[in-house]
Amino acid sequence: MTIVGNFFILLGSAFLVLGGLGLLRMPDVYNRLQAGTKASTLGAMSVLLGSAFLAPGIATKAVLVIAFIALANPISSSTIGRSAYKAGVPLAPVSVRDDLKDKESNA
């Protein structure tokens, strides 16, 4: 149990670190959101799962929090991305397409 728990916590931390690196390296807010959302979701889930293995007493609550994270994290990212777009934050020059352009007026 201890080994499994620590493994998941380590794994989660690794994903969180990579997500942080992604925040630093990605060129614009949208790509940063991509890296940040995925890493923070799985990272936090994995850390919680590991904690549940280390302290079985909190297992039900940990599972509940995991479910909330799975639901709330992507919503907040979408909202941030959408607000950024509506506020006129430009795509990085490396971007190849923008289908949302000119579609905003009828929103």
Binding site: N31, L42, K61, N73, P74, G81, Y85, V94, S95
Partner: protein
Amino acid sequence: MKSRNGLPFLIAALAAVWLLVTSSVRLDELAVGALAVLVVALAVRKLSGVFAGIRFTPRSAAFAVVYVLIFLRELVKANLDVALRVLNPALPIRPGIVEVRTGMKSPLGKLLLANSITLTPGTLTLDVQEDRMYIHWIDVKGQDIEGATKAIVTAFEGTLKEVVE
């Protein structure tokens, strides 16, 4: 069976959350829980219509499990994908916003689909308008709506449609 009113589901879900959080069946805790569930359910009852599209059959429950498993697999793949891109010195990205079409009709179905897309490799839902979704794609492939729809949406939609609406 499909419930027309979302309120029963809302109450059941709130009660389940309370029971899981307290992990106790003491009478006083149950009483407070019932009160809390009632107050919250009344406060948000106007929004409970979103849950109306959920199906409650053994078949849809099985698909819900399949859906969660697909979701977890995609989430792990998404993280490995991000990790590989971030660790690659060349930073191989080809980002852009693509338009895709969705067949989901209910608000809950669209929400779940949008969430799933956000957590799958390389895609982030930016906006939902009617039956169109605008996805930020970190590695754009192809040029047309059909291709993008197939690559991004189809994996989830079939399963999800068995669960909601």
